[in-house]
Structure formats: structure tokens, C-alpha cells
């Protein structure tokens, strides 16, 4: 079991790397997640792992990765995805000029269910001739590897995927379900930390950052939101699901329209250099 000092040290290092706020109530879960890493790195216990990390920054990166929260599901927040299908994406397609690519970013994509849900919706829209590019990022290589595989357990595909969508876009792969190559090719997964500038990713017409920000402390959450706001096009939209935004970044973002959890960058706001 962690000592208080070890817990504080882990919490500080993880917050520095990812912005995520770890509370003492999470200590048992943290320990069980770190045990797999400790065995893989050949340490006798997690206390030795933490002791070694004090002199080895690579280990802190691995610890932050191991503690990344994988909770996600297909079409999470049904009402929001309905708005995406019937209103937001069709509007983006209508407003796009001929040949213009609609760029969408799944920020904090975890194991990829949100990005692939977007790919399924975009697939419907492509029939109208719309050009859509989906970029999905996470700070965790472990979660990105799973996302890129396109493989999901029976438990995972049953959380959020209607059965007709499942058999249209997935095939059985032994005990798992594999998303079609066509949809998998529509999502580009990249490692990116939301606390860093997203300039390298380009500008986006729509950013989904759902159920990610609430796990962050206020200061890194504000930084992440400013980085996202800076990556929006002039008319670009940020969707946060039920995460709070205006409480920490009202200077950069303002609610857009009638749909809850959708924001636009404030006119005139620029990220501080």
C-alpha cells in the first residue's frame, strides 16, 4: 500500500503530466493498476516502482499512462449524438465550401469508441458528398494501441451500439468484434497531451472533449480548454458533454445555440503567447 508521501508524489507527477486530479479514495484502484506495470518493469512491489521513478522520468510517463482512465462507450450521451446526426454535422456539411474537408477532433479519445461513433455518423454523411477527417488523440499509448486495433469485447460493443449498427460495421473476430477496415481507416489516432498546444494538429470545425475535463484540476482544465479553443476554426464548435466549461474558461469559450454542452470560441479571444 502507498504511504501518504508516495501518494502525494504520484498525484503531483500525474497532475503535471496529464492534469488529472487523483484523490486518496482512488489509492486502491491506483495500486492495482500500477501492479501490472511494476511486474512488467521488474520491481518487487509498487513502492519500489515509485522509489525508482524519483530518478527516472520515463517511469513517471509509464505511471501516468497506467493510471489513464479508460471509461468510454459507443454513442455515449445519446441525446448529444442525436444532435450531432440531425443538426450539427449536417450544418457543418452545408456550410462547407466545395471540396472543403470538415475536420473533427476527438480529444481524449481513450480506447476509441467516441472516434468510431463519429466515423459511423460521418459514414452516413459521406453519402451526401461531404469530406470528413477525424483525428483522435490521447496521452496514453496504451489506450491508443487498443483504439488503433479496432477490436472490442462483446461487453464493449453492447454498451451503446444498436444491433443493426453492430452487424453493419463490425465482424466477429474470435471472441471479439472488429470494426470494418473502411471505418478504421477514417480515424487517425495520434498521441497528444491536452496540456500542450494543439497547433501541430491544425484547426478543427468540431472538437469533442467529453467526460475528460471533469477529472482535471481547475488550472490544467483551463489550460486544456484554452488549447482546444485555440484549435477551433472561427465558426468551430467544442462539445464537452456534461463537463463544466464556462466555470473555468468563460474568457475563451461561450455556449453556442440551444444544445447543452456546445461552445464556441469568444470573438477576439487569443491564447496568451
Amino acid at each position: 500500500m502507498f504511504t501518504d508521501t508516495e501518494f502525494s508524489l504520484i498525484a503531483r507527477e500525474v497532475k503535471t503530466r496529464t492534469g488529472y486530479a487523483l484523490t486518496p479514495s482512488l489509492a486502491p484502484t491506483m495500486e492495482s493498476r500500477l501492479m501490472a506495470l511494476q511486474r512488467r518493469e521488474n520491481y518487487a512491489n509498487v513502492n519500489e516502482l515509485v522509489a525508482a521513478a524519483r530518478a527516472n522520468h520515463r517511469l513517471w510517463d509509464l505511471i501516468a499512462d497506467a493510471l489513464a482512465h479508460p471509461e468510454t462507450r459507443f454513442f455515449r450521451d445519446r441525446a448529444f449524438f442525436h444532435s450531432l446526426r440531425t443538426e450539427i454535422l449536417p450544418n457543418l456539411a452545408r456550410n462547407a465550401t466545395a471540396g472543403q474537408r470538415i475536420r473533427i477532433w476527438s480529444a481524449g479519445c481513450s480506447t476509441g469508441q467516441e472516434a468510431y461513433s463519429l466515423a459511423i455518423l460521418s459514414d452516413e454523411l459521406r453519402a451526401t458528398g461531404a469530406l470528413i477527417e477525424i483525428v483522435a488523440t490521447d496521452h496514453s499509448d496504451r489506450l491508443l494501441d487498443k483504439a488503433r486495433s479496432g477490436l472490442f469485447s462483446q461487453f464493449e460493443v453492447q454498451r451503446g451500439l444498436p444491433i443493426r449498427t453492430l452487424i453493419e460495421h463490425f465482424e466477429k473476430a474470435s471472441d471479439l468484434w472488429r470494426i470494418s477496415d473502411r471505418l478504421r481507416a477514417q480515424v487517425r489516432f495520434e498521441r497528444h497531451n491536452l496540456l500542450s498546444s494543439a497547433d501541430k494538429l491544425g484547426q478543427f470545425d468540431l472538437v469533442l472533449c467529453c467526460n475528460v475535463l471533469n477529472d482535471m484540476d481547475p488550472a490544467p482544465r483551463q489550460l486544456a480548454l484554452e488549447n482546444i479553443a485555440a484549435a477551433l476554426t472561427g465558426q468551430g464548435l467544442l462539445a464537452t458533454g456534461e463537463d463544466g466549461v464556462t466555470a473555468v474558461a468563460p474568457h475563451a469559450l461561450t455556449p453556442s445555440g440551444q444544445i447543452k454542452g456546445i461552445y464556441q470560441r469568444n470573438a477576439g479571444w487569443r491564447r496568451a503567447a
Binding site: R78, Q158, R159, G160, L161, P162, I163, I167, K172
Partner: protein, 121 residues
């Protein structure tokens, strides 16, 4: 309150499903095979049916085909709940009139998710 008929030859599965669905505010009736289920529907057509596939006397798929021919038999939302998890079986169930399809084993999260996808909650 919406009603749901739970059709499964396993008493344990019926009990687990009843507990979850009652927490979702459904009133529950039970049947142990397709024929019992058909008789129950002829008495009172439920809003939803959670339906196993392999059962004695009458299978779930045979029950569903007959149900959809009954007066008012188009009304219940039918969610298959079965260990059959191959695409051809799933397609067969949809062609027979299933609205959703749940692969066992399941938990309350999956059952709630499937009922939501079927428009029941």
C-alpha cells in the same frame, strides 16, 4: 408503468432480469418457453419482451414469428437475450421481427443500454 414479459427457461436468468427491470420501473411477467409466452401475450400484450432463443416446447425465434402474426403482435418491442452471438443468427432474429439483440452474459448496464436503444427508456 411499462410492462415487460421475460421469456427464458432459466429461472435464474428470469430472476436476474426481473430485478434489473423492476429497478427500471417495469412491471414484470415471466414465461418459461415460447408457448407460455404466446399464451401470456394473447391475454395481455406487454410493452416489451426480453426473449431467450433456445427453449423447450417453442423456441424464441418461433415464438417471435408467431407473435408478429397475432392481433396487436406488432406492438411489443422485442429484445432478444441469448448466447447466440454469430452475425447470421442476429440477422435471422432481426428478419423475424426483433427490435434489439442482447448477447449473454449481460449486466444491468448492458440491459439498460439495450432497452434505451430500443426506445423503451
Amino acid at each position: 408503468m411499462k410492462s415487460c414479459l421475460v421469456v427464458d427457461d432459466s429461472r435464474v436468468i428470469r430472476k436476474v432480469a426481473r430485478r434489473i427491470l423492476e429497478e427500471m420501473s417495469f412491471s414484470i411477467d415471466e414465461a418459461g418457453d415460447g408457448l407460455e409466452a404466446l399464451q401470456s401475450c394473447r391475454r395481455t400484450m406487454p410493452d416489451a419482451i426480453l426473449l431467450d432463443w433456445q427453449m423447450p416446447v417453442m423456441t424464441g425465434i418461433d415464438f417471435l414469428r408467431q407473435l408478429r402474426q397475432e392481433p396487436g403482435g406488432d406492438k411489443p418491442v422485442v429484445v432478444f437475450c441469448t448466447t447466440e452471438n454469430d452475425v447470421p443468427k442476429i440477422s435471422e432474429a432481426i428478419r423475424a421481427g426483433a427490435d434489439e439483440y442482447l448477447m449473454k452474459p449481460f449486466d444491468s448496464d448492458i440491459l439498460q443500454s439495450k432497452f434505451a436503444e430500443a426506445g423503451l427508456v
